[in-house]
């Protein structure tokens, strides 16, 4: 896949510098361009919310820093964890005294660096709690759900945490709401083509012209199965069934449904899949409370999509419905 880039090694710093030029009212950095924070942080009386992870997934991660969502994000190189130091510097900046919640995907490098940062933050008397996102049903069976990786479902976690924190809730309360949300969030993805990490310069995996990889991760992690490319309806049924089997919603349940493009798949195709999801859910008496159709968590130029289902109750609906505004995501 061809890229519009300069020096591969400068890719992330260049995009971050452009980000601060584009959105100076909303975003600035602390110590290092990789440590992105809300310009108005710390927000008095509010728990600080931080995330982080590798680049290459925009709008994830930094795209959710803004009103009603996150306060800071530590940005790693493409598909690489940020360093403990970078995480620590946003932690210090966004703490208003009410503590900081880390919400990020369950990846080894990220876990270790966030943990190191948390240890250092505690030495500075900043209270830190961590909620890991592990929503990808394709990455481990239910009995090993703790091993699952975190993918697009984190966007809903950010949304819920942000709304809860905005209500003035305590660190423990925000963590509890976020954990409750994540217990009701499941994702699964399919990839049709690979992405290419700029400094590597070759596709992460190769895939035939008529093949697809069901259960693909967002860094090119292999999925459950390499198969013949199927129709939109067949793919949609497969993924919907797998998520429903895991999440087990019942008739009358309300779901937020995210149909997320991984990068190269047109919005038109996402809508075609949504149509089928809607139909399958309707047949089971399950209600789509709110659809989110677009690119929310990408793998650069990967073709493919992920579905995230989020089972809601009244409390979660109130939090999901709260307005949010970041340079990449606006909800009225």
């Amino acid at each position: 896949m061809k890229k519009i880039i300069n020096q591969p090694a400068e890719f992330v710093p260049e995009l971050l510098e452009a980000l601060f030029k584009a959105h100076p009212d909303q975003l600035s950095y602390q110590d290092d361009v990789h440590s992105v924070v809300r310009t108005d942080s710390p927000i008095k009386g509010k728990v600080g919310l931080a995330t982080g992870g590798g680049s290459g997934h925009l709008p994830v991660f930094l795209g959710y820093v803004g009103t009603g969502m996150l306060d800071g994000c530590a940005v790693g190189d493409v598909f690489q964890s940020p360093s403990a130091e970078q995480i620590l510097s946003i932690t210090k900046r966004i703490d208003s005294g009410k503590g900081v919640l880390y919400i990020y995907g369950n990846y080894g490098g990220d876990v270790m660096n966030f943990d190191m940062s948390a240890e250092m933050a505690e030495m500075d008397d900043i209270q830190v709690r961590t909620v890991l996102v592990k929503d990808d049903v394709a990455s481990a069976p239910p009995e090993e759900a703790a091993r699952r990786r975190g993918v697009a479902g984190m966007v809903f976690a950010f949304k819920i945490a942000g709304a809860k924190a905005d209500q003035g809730a305590s660190l423990d309360e925000v963590a509890a709401a976020t954990e409750k949300a994540l217990a009701n969030i499941r994702t699964m993805g399919v990839a049709l083509s690979s992405c290419t990490v700029p400094v590597v310069g070759k596709p992460t995996f190769s895939i035939g012209d008529k093949e697809m990889e069901i259960g693909m991760g967002i860094h090119g992690e292999r999925g459950m199965k390499r198969e013949k490319l199927q129709t939109a309806d067949e793919i949609t049924e497969r993924m919907t069934d797998a998520i429903l089997a895991d999440l087990q919603p019942g008739a009358g349940d309300r779901l937020a449904v995210m149909i997320n493009g991984l990068g190269a798949t047109p919005l038109e195709e996402l809508y075609v899949m949504y149509g089928k999801v809607h139909e399958i859910l309707a047949e089971k008496g399950i209600i789509v409370y709110r659809p989110y159709i677009g690119e929310f968590a990408t793998s650069m130029e990967m073709a493919g999509a992920s579905f995230t289902f989020f089972k809601l109750d009244d409390e979660l609906i109130e939090l999901l419905d709260a307005p949010a505004h970041t340079p990449f995501f606006t909800q009225l």
Binding site: Q80, G108, M116, G217, R222
Partner: protein, 212 residues
């Protein structure tokens, strides 16, 4: 070299540079291994680690305290390459350094302690256990073999060779297994029969340390 050999700051710096060079030169190989069962970034991580080690060892005087010197090297590695392997290697350096805080010279037993501490540190940081098919499965046996060899009176070169041999044996022992932790664990049974990239990196590092 025999058992009474003593390493000073310059020796340690030279070892860091050798490790750096080896990690850089094996970039493609490690990338290929990690593409087969992970995300294909290990070569990038190790070459960034290598560059950071070389820059550090060239720019920083080792001074009187080799413990501090190694811990600071660990911090540099974490900043330069904060992915799983980079962070584990950073942790190893920091924990090994902690063991020899205040010392300006290192002997065989010190090295054995450092190796054991590195292993312990990685285990605590990464929360993996032996048999999960990670770098620990090469480092654990290597640390034990090195310590045993010294206990049994082997000279340092012999102990070093035994250490490398144990690491290679550890790598081979877990190759048939399925990865149980980290990114490779999501690949499931498809990892059976594939070499763990972290084990391969560890063997490269130990070879570079020994073959000075």
């Amino acid at each position: 070299m025999d058992n009474s050999i003593i390493f000073k700051g310059a020796d340690v710096a030279a070892a860091l540079i050798r490790v750096g060079d080896a990690l850089i030169s094996q970039r493609e190989h490690l990338t290929d291994l990690d593409q087969a069962m992970g995300d294909g970034d290990l070569g990038i991580t190790t070459s960034k680690t290598g560059e950071a080690l070389k820059a550090y060892a060239s720019d920083t005087l080792s001074g009187d305290d080799l413990g501090k010197y190694l811990s600071a090297a660990g911090m540099k590695v974490n900043s330069a390459a904060p992915s799983t392997m980079g962070t584990l290697l950073a942790t190893a350096l920091m924990r090994a350094g902690k063991e020899v805080k205040g010392r300006s010279e290192l002997d065989g037993p010190a090295l054995a302690t450092m190796l054991q501490a590195a292993y312990q540190g990685m285990m605590e940081r990464g929360k993996a256990k032996l048999g999960d098919k990670t770098i620990l499965d090469a480092l654990g046996p290597a640390a034990v073999a090195f310590n045993n060899a010294l206990d049994e009176g082997d000279d340092l070169p012999t102990a070093g060779d035994k250490m490398i041999f144990a690491a290679e044996e550890g790598l081979a022992a877990v190759t048939p297994l399925r990865s149980q932790i980290g990114r490779a664990s999501w690949v499931g049974e498809r990892t059976e029969g594939l070499v763990d990239p972290g084990c391969a990196a560890l063997v490269i590092i130990l070879q570079a340390i020994v073959n000075g």
